[in-house]
């Protein structure tokens, strides 16, 4: 466990190095995730996520006004279980940002493997973002993540767990390509098996292929609830 935590911190250390010409954003990212089991095989997932900036520095070192609301996301997905531990789904997201509506269609496949002391999850997502006066943005994403109990071999009611995800987002827009890398280490608490809260960091690194890289650090506070 200690080795794992040390390795995670090491990765994070390299990840968080920010050069003076890099853009930097620091803020809050609360989210609520509600799942509804329609049938043994069908599920609905509703997600609300919001972002508030606390620090925003551009490539010239200029600091923009401090605390600022950025956006709200509302998404709904329909998922079908295709095996014991895997499911496919599709959904739609509406983002409200600077008074504008941005639309996104999402397709997803996920797979969870169970090991004795941890669970490993793979997720592949394709999405298309539609925005007024902008070419369609296509993204192909792969995320790998695990959770491990901080007490015992699995996190039971009233216990904590560590979750870490690492995601690679290939972004195509108007003939240009960008890669975004995300690393999300969080600590979760199991209220009930179907009711969990998480607190941690969402570190994102993008625009480093062309132009000034952007680092975003969001303090993540999440609630997962299944009905």
């Amino acid at each position: 466990m200690m080795r794992l935590a040390f390795a995670s911190m090491l990765i994070l250390f390299f990840f968080v190095r920010v050069n003076s010409q890099d853009r930097l954003r620091v803020g809050l990212m609360p989210h609520v995730n509600v799942n509804y089991k329609v049938h043994d095989y069908w599920r609905l997932n509703f997600k609300y996520e919001s972002r508030q900036l606390m620090r925003d520095r551009d490539a010239f070192g200029n600091e923009n006004p401090a605390f600022r609301y950025v956006l709200s996301d509302f998404s709904l997905m329909v998922l079908r279980k295709t095996g014991l531990n895997n499911q496919v789904g599709g959904g739609y997201l509406v983002r409200i940002e600077r008074g504008k509506f941005i639309h996104r269609a999402t397709q997803q496949f996920s797979l969870v493997r169970n090991y004795r002391t941890f669970r490993l999850a793979h997720r592949i997502v394709g999405d298309q973002t539609f925005e007024m006066d902008e070419p369609i943005q296509w993204r192909l994403r792969y995320r790998i993540g695990f959770d491990v109990a901080l007490q015992g071999e699995s996190a039971d009611r009233g216990e904590f767990y560590l979750k870490m995800t690492n995601e690679y987002l290939n972004v195509f827009r108007g003939g240009k390509y960008d890669l975004e890398i995300r690393l999300v280490p969080v600590v979760g608490y199991v209220v009930e098996d179907h009711n969990k809260v998480e607190f941690g960091l969402d570190a994102r690194y993008d625009s480093f292929i062309e132009g000034n890289a952007r680092h975003s650090y969001w303090l993540r506070l999440g609630w997962f609830f299944s009905i």
Binding site: N35, N85, V112, R116, R119, Q151, G222
Partner: protein
Amino acid sequence: MARKQYRNLYPLSGCGCAQLFFLFLAFFLNGGIFEPSLCAQVKFEKETRIKRTDVPQSAVRMIDLLELDEKVRWFMEKSENGVSFEAKYKRQNRLHSIEFDSIGRFQDAEIDIREREVPEEARLQIHHHLKMEFDHHRLRKIQRQLTGPEEDIRRALVKEMIPPGLTVRYEIIVKGRSSGETHLYEYLFSDSGEIERRARIILRNTDHLIY
């Protein structure tokens, strides 16, 4: 009367290069071979890691008598049936779990084994039963369960041989598909491959890993 003989506790111990290669391949292809345990999913109980000093003395004494070089981890389980204690360690690359009741009396010993280590007669019988119950099935995890006098169990674990007097059972996690539905089950088979217990495993929620 047929004379019972000692059986090797690890008939297939050791792991050749070819096996290692296939395990490596299976891990990356997610083929399901490299899935050492699914115990985490059979959550009828709450399991907490505890210190050796919090374990009843008689349980600690039995483990000490095994004179293990391996690291022993202690767990306390709380379930509807009360409190129990479990010592876990790895030997010959297999997980050993020794279970004790709330006052430290020995209950049983479970050792992870491979399918080929189940005697052929029992293995055929197990598959026969599973074929009757499912359209398709796959064994995901097998544990050899030993019960009997504590002294005999201890001798079996030290000498790595199963003496004739011990009761051997097989606790098997099975992925089974019937009528188009796939679920995980925990079976307890007798030494001859007869079903003694069957329970469907309730998988823990994974929403926080997917979304």
